[in-house]
Amino acid sequence: MIAFDFEYYQPLILKDADEKYRQARLLGEKAVYFNGGTEFITFARKGQVEADVIIDLKTIPDCHRLALNEDELVIGAAVTLNEITESDLFPLLGDVVKKIADHTSRNKITIGVNINSRLMYKEALLGLFVVDAEVEVIGENGRERQAISKLKLKEGEFISQIFIPYKNLQLPFVSLKRTKLSKVGYPVVSIAAVVKDDEIRVAFSGLTAQPFRCIKVEEILNDATLSIESRIEKAIDKISMPIIKDLNGSEDYRKFVTAQLLWEILQKLEVKK
């Protein structure tokens, strides 16, 4: 059970959500944005998170947008993972998020919760890093657009919408995920890759403390003067963040799996170039 009392606030516009947070801050209260509840509820039950006020973003219509126009695809932060997959508006992202948790959970997990996850995986970011996605951040500066690759949320700020350039929605892609054993589970490694302008772009989750996309890694993977094995070996060596070791796998095993997945990805994408 959740062993603390909290105020549950349902704003109807973005501004109110932001204001409520500031108010709580001024009163010395701990406020948390609530977006689907899949993380808050599980963490609160285990005593790993507490709040005096929870601010629900699901009641704000802007956070539910799922719309395609001639410039970009707009996905609200409160759109669920299953809604994204079923819309088929962005196949790469639909494929990436389909591998997160299980179907029933994906009815509730929102993209906003996943990209702001308290856990290290944030696998939805894989489908956003490689396509130059942007996000709308709500904070003291009102509504502000930022590139997702450079995203840094200040305290009290939250993401309301995600934008993907129209021209990047149908890029050839491959997304692969390996877990400890099951189809469902946290990643040992999860990789998404696209071909854009004849070059491969690739993003990783589960390998290091945060998901990432690294230009230097991509330069090596796109270096046609090297053999595929050589490219993969050098690319993995180039990763500057430490490779993690946890319940799902050791560092060396993660490197092995990454090499396997990159091999498969390069095979598949070379054909699609």
Partner: protein
Amino acid sequence: MGDVIVHIPMVRGAFGRKGTVQLEPLAYLASKAVGGQLVKLNFDREEDMTTAPCRIGLDATIKLGVDVNGKLLAGQYTYLVDAGAYSDQAAGITRAIALDCTGPYHVPNVWCDTYCMYTNHPFATSFRGYGHPELTFAVERTMDQLAKKMGICPIELRKMNGIQPGHTSPTQSAITENNIGDVEKCIALVKERIQWDEGVRIVEADDKIRAKGLSLFWKTSTTATNAQAAAILTFEADGTVNLNCAAVELGQGTKTILGQIVAETLKIKQADVHVTLEVNTQNDPHQWRTVASSTTFLAGNAVHAAAQDAVQQLKKLAAVALQCAEEDLDVGGGRVYLKPDPTHGVDYKDLALGYKFPSGHAIGGQIIGVGKYIQRHLTPMDKNTGFGKPGPWWSVGVQAVEVEVDKKDFTYQILNAVTVLDGGTIINPMTATQQMRGGMYMGLSYAAIEKFVFNEQAVVENNDIRTYGMLRYGEQPKKYIVDFIQTPAVDGPYGARGIGEYGVIGAPAALANSLSNALEVELNELPLTPEYLWKMKKGRL
């Protein structure tokens, strides 16, 4: 003890975990603290996984000596049982492992040391198989390695050494025609069902390898030497029957099977037998416990005896009603009738509450069938030699698994899982088959991925379902194949022995043997995750 009444509803699952008490005394103390009010005590998931007992761990070393033909001459077994912080059932499990330490093989010279070890891990209690899945893993991995060393087919090695009537168990208990299943017949049928002759290791396209592995297993029910059950049958005015006994329905189908025994003995329809699902210790006769795959045997014998007692009373009363001798009578179709002329008879409903003559005179009183059964000739282990007769019989079986392994990334799929079990007469083939399937799934999940991960302070790091992996729906074997050999036990109800736990026992070993065959590497640890397979194959630490 007589002041305590226990109500047991249908429990649904437990697999041995309810063989101990932990919540019950705590709930009692909580209720006592508030003057006897009703209290409810729940563990949440994380507490349940580490506070409530789990199953044992095992560290085993086995050394086998054979002659040039592969016949076993000697076996040395050292079993270290990780019991956790308290000994609970682990002490009994340690004993059970010692009693069956060789597996179902004839080993003329045996030395076995089995230690119940205190560790700072969550404590262990009984879990399906009571130490046998663990010991079978160790024995069967050793047998497969021995077969490779000798250059003998693993099936031939088992056939050559299978235990038979005339041999003795590790603790010098005599093996007879009646107290053990037929190992050879089980082996022969599994060989056919897994299509062993098509090849143990087949390389396929796409870097896949298909391979098979098998395991032999046995188990006896180590009960208390005075373990017993009893049953009471009462009749309704319409001739239908109520069965009262303290066997607990855990989802193993025991109430159905006991109902079947009543129906078979009284020769009535099963629908006319009302089995009380709930157990109430004040009203129901004493039953040792519902564990150890012993319920069909103990409660079944008691129920059979109660039904026979009822038949006796029915015949006695019918003899008066029909004015003939008891020996002339038989039962069938819900009535008692004259053997030479079945048209002469009287329905159960006219005997159930006594018999009333046309004149109005009533005789006999209601039929109440009473039966009981207690274990025969069981002994504890001798302090010096370890010899003893631990249980009434051994059921035996063979399990085999076929896997498809990707040799590039060491991921695998379980294709077929086969069980051939000799548990004596199978009273309900459908529930028995399902027992085997469920057991196989359990054992395979256990072997493939389940494990507590301890940090350096021995704290469990994966104490929730997200992080403690299990085989999920869709990852179970593509096909379960189950068969039974029915070598009857003369002292079991309709020839039945026990079968409840057995589906789990050989599965981990069979999986390890098949993966070892596939990758041509010796896999002697669990769980068999792709990372472990990779580690062993690449020779890295």
